[in-house]
Amino acid sequence: MSPLWLLRRIAGLLFALVAASAIVFVLMDLLPGDPAEIMLGTNARPDTLAALRAEMGLDRPALIRYADWALGLLRGDFGRSLTYSVPVAELVQERLAVTLPLAMMAIALTLFIALPLGAFAASRRKSLTDSTIIAVTQLGVAIPNFWFAMMLVLVFAISWRLLPSGGFPGWSAGPSAILALILPAIALALPQAAILTRVMRSSLLETLGEDYVRTARAKGLTRAEALRRHAFRNALIPVLTILGLQFSFLIAGTVVIENVFSLPGLGRLIFQAINQRDLVVVRSVVMLLIASIIVINFCVDLAYALVDPRLRGRS
């Protein structure tokens, strides 16, 4: 990986982060009007409004406010929540303890389902098994994750009483905390797994047609051995890319699913903040989520280039 290529990618990442923060600031702070009035309502007393405006620094030019906010984000200072009267960073840290494990569980489950299923379908191309797997994934892509979540609750929580229907007891509760995340993780993983299974299948089929696989077969390897030793690893490259691209859907999904299961994560924090008109929290958490999508896509780009040198020359 040439240093120039890496520098260009890092410059692109920094540009994307600055541009995204500018868009968030303009959409949430400048265009809607007076943020203090939005937060307190039109019936607020003028002195209360003036105090909030002063606290938020709204009397200063927009550019200075933006710079203050953006530099604050870099230092980990996300502002102060008006509803909770604590720094937003504290809230974010607390909520990440739920969102992050949930997202990780969903990704792990996605890979656990998609990789073997996709490989299995590819190894039995045009068989009944293959067609069934394709049909199931087609259905999986069409099911909204929050509806699937409701159906999981109906079956596993309401009818069979095997798992909790919502809420989170906290990590100190031990195994019940993990139990509380199982249904949300399954709901999040389903559409992702359906998409990745299809990608894995088609990627593996393409790789199996490559010359080096044919050579391996000619040297005496069975189809299964050639698949395991040569094709599988190379077929993972497109899977990795799609997984990275799917990250924005995973983030949006997490926000929705946390609300379905009343999990105290970042997604729920955003919606509680929206209802409480706490714009400081909404703005910072939205920015944090968008920044995480940009950074993950950057990492996927790097990983992709590490695996496939041809892509380093790509603009």
Partner: protein, 281 residues
């Protein structure tokens, strides 16, 4: 015959016909709902609340006594309407952006495509949250939020196809004949990109249906009393133990619609995308 649109000689893909039939049913129901529904989908009748299926209410009633079938029919119209406008929005901005970037090349090309990459980082849900204070929660908010996410998708498809077309002989001939780049883009490139755009539009339409449902479910999309599938699911959530059918009906409507559109998209892609035809050959 255009360069990319030669129809496939192979027998039509079955998913195309399944998808087309399923989509046609949903569109027909949506159109019918504009002029007729069994009951007024917004009329509340508290004496009839949470009734099971009957001759009067085929799919029963919700907690306000509203007719579930009528709400599901009207929901189809709203869902398609939001998604169609979002597609139009995405195409209106994305296609010219992709064409412009491909035809101009250089720094402007790089800047335009980087900008479209950036928009990819804004899922419709987060955009809808940001636009909430600007437009207020409602169908318009959903249309714009989903539409913005569609812009880079259409820009990418147009850009990729236009780049490969601009070096083709018929484009070079037009350039030598003195045609301007704008005219070449409109007369030669755009008609050839159109099949790919139609396929992509079908796929984005299904994603739009899912996004609209999620936004309405979260209270960021269509607002009551207008019925929408996402809103119906939100209302049904607290009644899952007593009336699961309230969640089943709108959920199955979404699955049926999205499945139909995905099958249609797959079928159209098999038929129209030259790269796939070449691979199949």
């Amino acid at each position: 015959m255009s360069a990319l649109t030669r129809p496939s000689s192979s027998a039509a893909h079955p998913s195309l016909w399944f998808g087309a039939a399923m989509t046609a049913i949903v569109v027909l129901i949506a159109l019918v709902s504009l002029v007729w529904t069994p009951q007024d989908p917004t009329a509340m009748e508290m004496t009839q609340r949470l009734q099971g299926p009957s001759a009067l209410h085929w799919l029963g009633t919700d907690r306000f006594g509203r007719d579930v079938l009528s709400m599901a029919m009207a929901g189809a119209a709203i869902s398609l309407q939001v998604s169609f406008v979002a597609i139009a929005f995405g195409m209106a901005l994305g296609v010219p952006l992709g064409l412009f970037a491909a035809m101009r090349g250089g720094v402007l090309d790089e800047a335009a495509m980087r900008m479209s990459d950036l928009i990819f980082a804004f899922p419709a849900l987060l955009t809808a949250i940001m636009l909430r204070e600007l437009f207020g929660p409602g169908a318009l908010n959903a249309m714009i939020a989903i539409g913005i996410f569609n812009v880079p998708v259409f820009a990418r498809v147009t850009y990729g196809a236009a780049l490969s077309l601009r070096t083709r002989d018929f484009v070079t001939a037009s350039r030598l004949a003195g045609k301007s780049e704008t005219l070449i883009a409109l007369d030669h490139i755009l008609p050839n990109v159109l099949p790919l755009l139609i396929v992509q539009a079908t796929i984005q339409l299904s994603l739009g249906i899912l996004a609209e449902a999620a936004l309405s479910y979260m209270g960021l999309g269509v607002q009551p009393p207008a019925p929408s599938w996402g809103r119906m699911l939100n209302d049904a959530q607290t009644l899952m133990a007593v009336a699961p059918r309230l969640a089943l009906v709108p959920g199955l409507c979404i699955v049926f619609t999205v499945l139909g559109l995905n099958l249609l998209g797959d079928g159209l892609r098999d038929k129209l995308d030259p790269r796939l035809r070449r691979r199949q050959a």
